[in-house]
């Protein structure tokens, strides 16, 4: 039981990490908590469903379709909602309220189109189970964890090793200096939104296939937990997000193992509360200096 729960926690944890990375990427560049992220996550899963159910695509094509459409939805959120505000020099709170409003629009449009009830979602990785240390483990969990992990590695290589990644890091440090050096800041921000939305779409698809259902409210709690994970690890730091996601995933499944299921949602937040009492900037976060 223990080993099963541990593996389960690690698998869910990597998915939290994948969503948390999206929060972290946008926060790193705009210093903005992107409240649309949880609705984009839901949108991603729904797009796969649309691809399979309405466009009759092969499942991999459907995932690709979802990646592209959701990614562009992320870009549209930035171009139509946030870029005008940046140009106007509006306050951070305006930008944040805009993201809350946009996420409300997306979720309720999904509600109108598909209804708020549970919709069956195909099980993508149904390859049975195997035995490890006397525990029965589903291949599904292992594959989900592995896919999320591969994506995380790919993202970190992209950010740390490529020229575009370098530009992203430059914008993160100082947008105006980056612009002086010939970096198209708005393009980089849109790209960040694309990456964040695409990774959220994959995470949403993985979770939907894990639960074998999807519904318009599926993003609420996962979004909040992933945000908690990003903050727990230190928001703006990629390794921090991954660590935070894993900690929350594993501690949740341990709580199910020890305490039973009803308090599962409280674990993440109580943990966050305790960690921030001791380390106010998250586990891997650094304290920034206050400029006057």
């Amino acid at each position: 039981m223990f080993v099963e729960q541990l593996i389960n926690g690690l698998a869910i944890g990597t998915i939290y990490a994948l969503v948390a990375v999206g929060y972290s990427l946008v926060f790193g560049i705009l210093r903005l908590v992107n409240f649309t992220h949880s609705s984009v996550y839901t949108l991603g899963a729904f797009m796969v469903y649309v691809g399979v159910e309405y466009l009759h695509l092969n499942i991999f094509l459907a995932i690709l379709f979802s990646l592209v459409t959701t990614g562009f939805a992320g870009v549209m959120i930035d171009k139509m909602g946030l870029e005008p505000l940046r140009k106007k020099g509006a306050s951070k709170i305006s930008a944040m309220i805009t993201t809350i409003g946009l996420s409300y629009i997306i979720i309720n449009c999904l509600n109108i189109a598909f209804g708020s009830q549970i919709i069956r979602f195909p099980d993508l990785f149904n390859y049975g189970t195997f035995k490890l240390l006397g525990a029965t483990i589903a291949w599904q969990q292992v594959i989900i964890g592995a896919v999320a992990l591969i994506l995380l590695v790919a993202l970190s290589i992209f950010i740390n090793r490529t020229r575009i990644g370098l530009a992203m890091r430059a914008v993160q440090q100082e947008p105006s200096a980056a612009a002086i050096n010939g970096i198209n800041v708005n393009m980089i921000i849109s790209l960040t939104f694309f990456l964040g939305a695409a990774s959220a779409a994959i995470a949403g698809t993985l979770i939907a296939s894990y639960n074998q259902y999807l519904r318009s409210s599926m993003g609420d709690i996962v979004g909040l937990k992933a945000f908690a994970a990003a903050v727990l690890g230190g928001i703006g730091s990629l390794p921090g997000s991954v660590l935070g996601g894993l900690i929350i995933g594993v501690s949740e499944s341990m709580a199910v193992y020890k305490l039973g299921g009803s308090y599962i949602d409280m674990v993440a937040f109580s943990l966050l509360f305790l960690v921030l009492l001791i380390r106010p900037y998250g586990i891997l976060g650094r304290k920034g200096s206050t400029k006057v």
């Binding site: 944040m96 309220i97 805009t98 809350i100 409003g101 946009l102 996420s103 937040f269 109580s270 006057v292």
Partner: protein, 334 residues
């Protein structure tokens, strides 16, 4: 089994009653108005920003549940229950202020959201006390000095108005006092306030406590008004409705909250009316889910207001001369 069935039928009955209540736009307007008035304290009282609206609902829930559980199951006097509810919410506010003291920015946001989540999770799971998702039914009408204030004799409306007037008065007094000015200074620019010798920690705790106290007070009103509460009563939709009202009307002004409530509250009714009106039209023109459309419109209002008029319809800079507090003279060098 029988018990459960009975509970269930009671539950459906209660849901139907609430549905009927919400049919009435006037009642709805008043609820939202009251809510907006209490939300109006948020920017003024606390060092909070808007994302922390969630937390007001948490305190609202604490106040509501304390008062309702005391009056329904212990038969406590209404006034005593109200005071206890508000004080408990205030105590939680102080506790939260103390625990978030070292945090800043995004970290405070997530901790307050987490707090909201923990409170609603406790309400859902602590069945033996809060009755979980079944909720508390048959909440007695407030009994003031032998007078029963019910919906029928209209007493409850006067009670709401009294609360609103009391809170507006109290806030105005606090805002214009030394404490209020210090809180405003810490809210607007914490660093500058510290430099001026203001004890930012002390005033943060005071602000959180007061805001939580008033939110709790508002909550104590909700139970007897609706006659029924459960875990789903206090959710993000309430926060969003209140947020939309203040954003539309103008942030941080009473006028704005009132105007916003007047515009927003009939929206649901209008959309429902539109749905019946459009029944005869071709299918693609019909609106099938008025409730969802309402939230889409809320979202659009937020986005559009932030883009074109972030200060709200009535917000903006005050053109009136700044009123100096007593004992301070304006001396301008000429």
């Amino acid at each position: 089994m029988n018990m459960k069935k009975e509970n269930k039928s009671l539950y459906t009955k209660a849901v139907i009653t609430i549905g009927q209540l919400w049919e009435n736009p006037i009642i709805k307007g008043i609820i939202l108005l009251a809510l907006a008035l209490f939300v109006y304290f948020l920017p003024k009282m606390a060092t909070l920003y808007f994302q922390r609206i969630a937390i007001m609902v948490a305190f609202y829930a604490i106040g509501a549940y304390t008062a309702v559980l005391l009056t329904t199951y212990r038969g406590t006097n209404y006034l005593v229950a109200v005071i206890l509810g508000a004080c408990l919410a205030g105590a939680f506010g102080a506790l939260l202020a103390l625990s978030t003291m070292r945090l800043s920015g995004t970290y405070v946001t997530i901790v307050t959201m987490a707090f909201f989540y923990v409170i609603s999770s406790i309400i859902l799971n602590w069945d033996s006390v809060t009755k979980g998702s079944v909720g508390v039914l048959n909440i007695p009408a407030p009994n003031l000095f032998g007078m029963k204030l019910t919906m029928k004799n209209g007493g409850i409306f006067y009670l709401i108005m009294f609360y609103a007037a009391l809170t507006i008065l109290a806030t105005q007094l606090i805002i214009n006092s030394k404490v209020g000015r210090a809180i405003k200074a810490v809210r607007d620019d914490e660093m500058a306030a510290i430099m001026m010798g203001i004890n930012n920690k002390k005033y943060k705790i005071i602000a959180y406590t007061l805001a939580a106290f008033f939110a709790g007070l508002a909550g104590t009103l909700y139970g007897p008004f609706m006659g029924y509460i459960n875990n789903a009563t206090f959710n993000y939709d309430i926060c969003i409705s209140a947020l939309v009202i203040v954003i539309l009307g103008g942030i941080g002004t009473v006028k704005g909250a009132i105007i916003g409530a007047i515009i927003i509250s009939p929206l649901g009714e209008l959309l429902r009316g539109l749905t019946t009106f459009m029944k005869g039209l071709p299918e693609w023109m019909q609106i099938s889910q008025p409730e969802q459309w309402r939230f889409v419109i809320y979202g659009m209002i937020m986005v559009i207001m932030m883009r074109f008029r972030p200060q709200g319809i009535l917000g903006g800079q005050s053109k009136l001369p700044y009123k100096m507090p007593k004992g301070v003279e304006r001396k301008v060098m000429k």
